[in-house]
Symmetry: C2
Subunit: 480 residues, 2 copies
């Protein structure tokens, strides 16, 4: 492990994180908020920490896969640690662990919150809170489309073939080039959402904040009752549409923007993603029409919003779905595991993995009948090699295993069974609201500190596709 | 598909099932029960149905893998259907679906019951109910050690290598030969348990019934409060020990009986099985000592019994574990998924699969660090081929998928979330008691008929390692 190179890059990440704190600082000045000094201090500490690290270290050799794992994992951790400063120095949270939970929930685009009353916070902190998600979203797009395919994590090399890339040992130039393209797309769609939300009736400030958290499928809101506070069918529609976009592979958006709009419909993952959301919406509409609402229009509006919000792992709410039928809750709970498409900002297991899982199930069935036949799983035109299928299956089971262990730990800390499995699934899947007492009408503040630490670890694990973090616990990685 | 050959063999299965009804008939005479006539009618109908099929059909060609799937799946279904006769003709259940649920639960060695009051039933019916499990257990041992390895289901070919076998197209002679050996072992251990239970203080009749359901890891009892009714540390110990034996690969018992007692400790699956049960017992003892019982001895007695009972998927109870802490319940719930060793009468996913899953997880981690290295999963001295690992991973995910879908269907039928997931896990894992309102103190009678049908399907799916049943839905299987 070339530790000095890793630390050097972490230094530049911290530096740029500090620079990004200028945005809430400007916000504090615009709204003449007394909290500007806390933000200013955070800015100073973060930027200078970054600078000191940059000065004291230098790059020693190329960044290889090994260093990649460390940079990504510690990068997210460092951002989450320095990101607590604005919360702490403006006294917006009552403890470090709460600030750390909130910031990690932001940078991992989870959206789980320990804040009981969001609306009392100063605007500059609300902006910073939303901004952590937007930055996390930027990170995750580049990570999933440029870094993980090279590292070969959890079958993500499937997406490597699209652009010819360098060998394993030279990551930096490739990543930089892809990042520029994708961030352009991310910015463009974000700008469009801000405009449309403003037109739909949101204030300019709220439009920016919600766009930040919507594009990242994060789900932090500036309102205690989330998007439900606006009670507007237009705002619901705009937010649902952009959550839907944010759950799609950003490489597809890039191609679409270059002119080939039909590319979406050739993509099996996209079609499966639409199919799952449509099926869930259909069921929930029928179920909530019978059990909860008086007219089918309202049932549809709430159902499509909640399906897309949970399905893309955003976590905005317009309705307390804990009041819906058990089946509706279990369907939303299942959606928590599916998540968005690969290369989106969405969390969960990723649609492509579910799709390949189902396909490999059918292949196994065929093999049982024709034991000597050689049958491959197809994805698009190509056959998927068996070792990628194994990687994906192992990933899915590891995901379920971590979910189960976390649920058991949560129950150990005194949560009931439904809350335990809800909190575990919502954090590892980077969704935000769960079931039971961490449902949409509640928050995570009542969870004991140890539980918050476990959930923070889960958020990072889930966000970084498990293996990126887990390999760091292998001694051999550190030796070479 | 050589349908006539399949039907012919089904005929002989039905015939022998009829013959086995002589045992409860004798019981009815011994205890001078008026229900003898219902049993006698069942015997007549079953034996003559079997004979008629045997006369009308004949074997046309060898039994191949294709026919194997059909014989196994329809064999279990036919046994469950004809097995309802003694219940129906003695008016022991109030509807066909209840009788069918009870019998399927028997032959699949699940142990879920729709009977509120077991103790009012005549002894001949209690015996028949226990006997269905014992017969199911005999079937399952042969199935898992002789049939499935040849069919190559869910990675079970791992166990094929131990005895050189015939090619795919000739199943019958091999199966017959292995069956004789294994049934000898099964009978011998059963005889030992009857004697020990009698010595421990059970009546002779109860000893036989409980031995039948214990050896099959079925869990039907002759008492409403299961083994808890005896309130005896000796009986608890004997039952726990034999449940533990029944959860071990019967091929190991055969080797041990031939003299090599140490063979257990060379078997990785056995060691892992002991490790899991020991860990669960340790935790439960501590937890229940703090929360439920006054002395550590009682806590240990209840904990080891319940861990072994749920871990081996037997489902006997000495305590209503719904009263234990949420963590204890979740640990038992997790054990429901693990199940017994391959080649045992236990259900669940099987310990060997969990073990190989964990190993393949570590192999994937190593591969992430050394992407070009060729690393295999080891089991004992041998490397496990990648396609077997894929099969196992696909099996585990399919298992979880069926569990999730069943839980959603159950919630749709009006069960609460904890009961839904409890019933689903308990039926697909062939355990018996679940959580919530299908917990150890309750039964399945309140579940709607549609729900009972779904659970019956799950029991058979789980018992026959999923694929054996699912391949039958493939058109191609029927063509050739």
């Amino acid at each position: 492990m070339r530790i000095q190179s890793v630390v050097h890059i972490l230094g530049s990440i911290i530096f740029f994180l500090g620079i990004s704190m200028l945005l809430p600082l400007i916000c504090a000045f615009v709204y003449k908020e007394s909290d500007w000094f806390g933000i200013f201090l955070s800015f100073l500490i973060t930027v200078s920490s970054g600078l000191i690290i940059l000065i004291l270290t230098k790059m020693r050799g190329e960044i290889r896969a090994k260093e990649g794992f460390a940079i990504v994992s510690f990068g997210w951790l460092m951002m989450s640690l320095f990101g607590t400063l604005p919360f702490l120095l403006t006294n917006s949270t009552n403890s470090f662990i709460n600030a750390f939970f909130e910031t990690t929930s932001g940078f991992t685009t989870t959206g789980a919150s320990i804040l009981n009353d969001i609306e009392v916070l100063p605007k500059c902190i609300l902006l910073w809170r939303s901004q952590t998600q937007w930055i996390g979203g930027m990170g995750i797009i580049v990570l999933s489309l440029a870094v993980l395919p090279i590292l070969g994590i959890g079958g993500m090399q499937l997406f490597k073939a699209e652009v010819p890339g360098p060998t394993h040992d030279k990551i930096a130039p490739r990543v930089g080039q892809i990042a520029k393209i994708l961030w352009g797309v991310y910015l463009l769609i974000s700008a469009a959402e801000i405009v449309l939300l403003k037109i739909a009736g949101m204030s300019f400030f709220d439009s920016i904040c919600h766009t930040f958290t919507c594009m990242a499928t994060g789900g932090f809101s500036t309102k205690n009752s989330s998007i439900g506070a606006y009670n507007s069918v237009y705002i619901d529609a705009v937010v649902a549409f952009f959550m839907f976009l944010a759950g799609i592979n950003f490489a597809m958006h890039f191609r679409a923007l270059k002119g080939s709009l039909l590319c979406y419909f050739k993509d099996k993952e996209f079609l499966f993603y639409v199919g799952i959301l449509a099926a869930a919406t259909l069921y929930l509409t029928g179920d909530t029409y019978i059990n909860n609402y008086n007219n089918i229009g309202e049932a549809f509006q709430k159902s499509i919003f909640q399906s897309v919000s949970i399905g893309t792992t955003t976590g905005f709410v317009t309705e307390d779905y804990i009041k819906w039928s058990y089946t509706s809750q279990l369907i939303l709970f299942t959606l928590m595991f599916f998540g968005g498409c690969a290369g989106s900002t969405g969390g969960g297991m990723k649609i492509v993995r579910i799709l390949l899982l189902i396909k490999s199930g059918f292949v196994e069935l065929k093999k049982s009948i024709h034991p000597n036949a050689v049958i491959y799983v197809k994805f698009g035109d190509k056959s998927v090699p068996n070792d990628i299928i194994s990687k994906i299956l192992a990933f899915l089971l590891l995901y379920i295993g971590i979910f189960a262990v976390t649920a058991i730990i949560m129950s150990f800390l005194g949560l009931d069974i439904v809350t335990s499995i809800g909190a575990s699934a919502a954090c590892i899947g980077n969704i935000g609201p769960g079931l039971g007492s961490v449902g949409p009408a509640f928050d995570y503040s009542h969870i004991p500190s140890l539980g918050k630490c476990v959930l923070v670890f889960c958020m990072i694990l889930g966000r970084l596709e498990l293996y990126t973090v887990l390999v760091l616990f292998n001694k051999r990685l550190w030796k070479v």
